[in-house]
Symmetry: C2
Subunit: 328 residues, 2 copies
């Protein structure tokens, strides 16, 4: 039996797992990310938690071929540096060098949303499909493109950033600095933010949302918005309607380009329930170029939760990323 | 020497060519498309002009392996029908069956903008690159995606329609029926249309554009807009500034997804000159996610003009398209 070592690096946790050839996680370890610490400290924690996942099942580095890591951002192939990871405040950090000091294994770093999409294709919601687009609707909007069961991350490995495609020309400013990115309208943060604005602008306080958040809009959660929506609260309905319009418009661009067999939704928003998913599916065809004539793929929920990122990272292929070079 | 037969089907002309393995066109024939005629008549003209290109250099169907055709729209792999071709008013037409009655050759049909992109990659502006995005800015906006020197047209062959990605959420209605497509803002028609609106709304008639079009905004051409722009006419400057903003915002989405090595511009608007191209290149980085940090590809002009479509069609690979099937 061959084993694979995967690590999912997020702003909250570092989650490591040992994965079999059948995509089963036979060992997991997780520690808080400890954002705010130095690069060196975080990298040591990444190595420690990954090593602990191995030793917990009596394995060592000698039992795996490489160490796959999913994390925000991506490695610039020209500089070898990780471009930026907002959760740690990193810009152009030499993560590969830092990791090399803690392991003898070859290291493969890939964007975390790409790893999640890959995990879902290998072992989750996408396992019956070859071509998929996955959107992780959380604090941000992560995008993962799967073509012929492989991650597609652009010619230089720095693409596939679906959350930063333009959705609203000259629209709201995104965390990335650009204006009108899909993330600025379709992330959980955006939904909560736009709802709070609407509450602030509303004359009365008759929406269930006021009660749900205890009169403090800043405390409002996306879960509360969807709960109120299910109870047909007018303000929640207005916000969810609008959110589905933005989301399906954004999805339409990806369908028009990729015509994937399936669209997989992950992240907090994807837990809003079946009625929400059906609402998206009902609206998508009408929002998409030629959607009513040639059809659109179904939108389904991710199955693996946080495991997708671990499995996807563990199963990365070491050659691929390092071999991508720009032609001069 | 092996020969290839290609046909570029447009709303104006049917242009056939015999192409060598070195991508040289050794014979060309062109006839008016005769839009408005029946499917059967147009298909017969397609066969006649292609046959004429062969016989002009002493060849026959026996000397080529297949007949490559670039035309608007695409074949639906589930029905075998051409989905729609606005220039002929066709919806779901059995073009492959109709073509089969006029040739013994296997026929490969591909979207015309994809063929143009493929021609430019093989023999034109893109020949030193493996990964490119081409935009044909004419009456509409045609998109061609080249990944690893192959056409990428989505999982089912009906994607890659870059002109119908969303650029302006809930924006102007596009010819396709959707709202806010890139085509509705970045086609030559859109530029002329938006300029005419601006002229109609302007209080005076002091812009050079009024003189250029002889006082008849409906007669205004894109060439006249760019001529006035070069003479620093304020209205033309306003319109070209705005057009470049739309165009670079649209391009930014494709860069964020594909990170191509190069972006190739074709179609009428691409002839606006070097200053226009430089204006695009100057603006693109600032409009693109992480563009200032990791750079953006250069935008260059297509080289082959109408030949690109013929060469691209002639060099299509017969297996590829027909083999794409949806997994059930």
């Amino acid at each position: 039996m061959k084993y694979h070592l995967g690590l999912d690096v997020g702003g909250t946790n570092l989650a490591a797992g040992v994965v079999t050839e059948r995509y089963e996680i036979i060992s997991r370890k997780s520690v808080p990310s400890g954002a705010g610490r130095s690069l060196e400290e975080i990298v040591r924690a990444m190595a420690d938690v990954s090593g602990a996942a191995l030793t917990a099942v009596g394995l060592s580095e000698a039992d795996v071929e490489y160490w796959g890591i999913g994390m925000p951002s991506y490695i610039n192939p020209e500089t070898g540096l990780l471009v930026h990871a907002n959760c740690f405040g990193w810009r152009n950090v030499a993560i590969l060098d830092a990791l090399a000091r803690h392991t003898k294994l070859p290291v493969v770093v890939e964007n975390d949303a790409n790893c999640a999409a890959y995990g879902e294709i290998l072992a989750g919601a996408g396992k019956d499909y070859d071509n998929a687009v996955m959107l992780t609707l959380g604090t941000g909007v992560g995008g993962g493109i799967i073509l012929n069961r492989r991650i597609y991350a652009g010619a230089d490995g720095m693409g596939g950033e679906l959350g930063h495609t333009k959705l609203v020309y000259n629209g709201r400013q995104c965390t990335c600095g650009q204006y009108g990115c899909m993330e600025a309208y379709c992330s959980a943060r955006a939904l909560a933010g736009m709802t709070r604005e609407e509450m602030a602008a509303a004359p009365g306080r008759d929406s269930l949302l006021w009660e749900a958040c205890g009169g403090v809009p800043e405390a409002l959660t996306v879960r509360q918005i969807f709960d109120a929506w299910e109870q047909k609260d007018p303000l929640a309905e207005k916000m969810v309607d609008q959110y589905v319009e933005y989301l399906t418009a954004g999805m339409s661009t990806f369908i028009t380009i990729f015509r994937p067999e399936i669209i997989i939704l992950g992240g907090g928003v994807s837990n809003a329930g079946e009625a929400f998913l059906e609402k998206i599916n009902r609206r998508l065809g009408a929002q998409t170029f030629a959607g009513m004539e040639i059809g659109v793929p179904r939108v389904i929920r991710a199955k693996l939760g946080n495991d997708a990122g671990i499995i996807g990272a563990a199963m990365l292929r070491p050659r691929k990323q390092q071999s991508i070079k720009k032609r001069k």
